[in-house]
Symmetry: C2
Subunit: 195 residues, 2 copies
């Protein structure tokens, strides 16, 4: 039942926005009583915090699995995380949009809790870039923090436009973006190198 409430609310929050969606809207949509809602959540904000926490903890756990894999070099791990984030669009698009849009409606305490987890996800990414630089896989001229924000931008933005049912599948999109980040788009001929 708890999962069903979360799932229904995510759809309503995505469509109408958090502020315009009432607990009454949620329980009516599910055909249950308000008592059922309050059995699982103390308030609408408590529910919003759960949605945020589920979303970011799930991402961190998948990211840390990839980072722990000792068989992969930093380049492969970078591809792995980009692919993981893009693959989540199919199942987590609505949660992600709520995550990006509605955080300011959380209480100060919960904003801090979620911000710390967002920062952990970003710092794990940055740590990977820094390790890649120290092992000679990535250029030392690139500021790791700015690169991390750039990569987050590419993949987070894809939640607004990418359709996993369309022409390009998740592996291919992840490969295209990893290729751009690693090798750039400048024509090799123009770079003065003949291969």
């Amino acid at each position: 039942m708890k999962d069903k409430i979360i799932e229904t609310s995510i759809k309503l929050f995505d469509k109408k926005g958090y502020t315009a969606t009432s607990i009454k809207d949620i329980v009516e949509k599910m055909d249950v009583t308000k008592g059922t809602f309050y059995y699982y959540f103390s308030s609408k904000q408590d529910l919003l915090r759960d949605i945020h926490l589920d979303y970011i903890e799930n991402l961190i756990s998948q990211q840390e699995d990839i980072l722990r894999n000792t068989d992969k070099d930093c380049t492969e791990k970078l591809y792995g995380i980009i692919h993981m984030v893009i693959s989540n669009i199919g199942t987590k698009r609505e949660s992600a949009r709520i995550f990006f849009r509605e955080m300011r409606h959380l209480s100060e305490k919960h904003i801090e809790e979620i911000t710390n987890k967002r920062n952990l996800f970003r710092k794990n990414y940055q740590q990977l870039i820094e390790t890649g630089i120290s092992l000679g896989e990535f250029k030392s001229s690139i500021p790791p923090d700015m690169l991390t924000f750039g990569i987050l931008g590419i993949t987070n933005w894809s939640y607004y436009w990418y359709n996993p049912e369309g022409n390009i599948d998740e592996e291919e999109l992840a490969r295209i973006y990893t290729d751009i980040i690693l090798n750039g788009v400048k024509s090799i001929k123009k770079a003065g190198i003949t291969l």
Copy 2:
């Protein structure tokens, strides 16, 4: 007065969200009457549409100025647009966040109007990439539409984290991102080329 209403509303919408901000909130903040508001706007939605339209038309106009410049090649124009978008963060951060978050609250007709303009901005970008490929400046192996979404992701995301008053100025951030997009981050040594 109209500009003052827009400016005040942008701040309130950014802080509390469009739905939770009433016309009463806006006029009280400005210490004017509701009559003043209705002299300039027929509704709160009419005001939201104006904010969206101002934001995107201003971006398109700056973009088209850069694209028309016949003294610059596609690589320089790419830098120019990235720099222009990042430079807007200082003055347009709040408008941009409203633009990214609140579009779903517009009427269907207005959503279509704004979507057409967003698409024009994106297609102008993609046209630049395609011209760059045909002139041999960019690699032909990169899908221009996916690259365009990627670049939009990098710059749009910077509205959520970049502080123009911080350590890295707008020119430098634009240079870093243009460099990553053009040249990639893979260490040249690892790519098997000795320079």
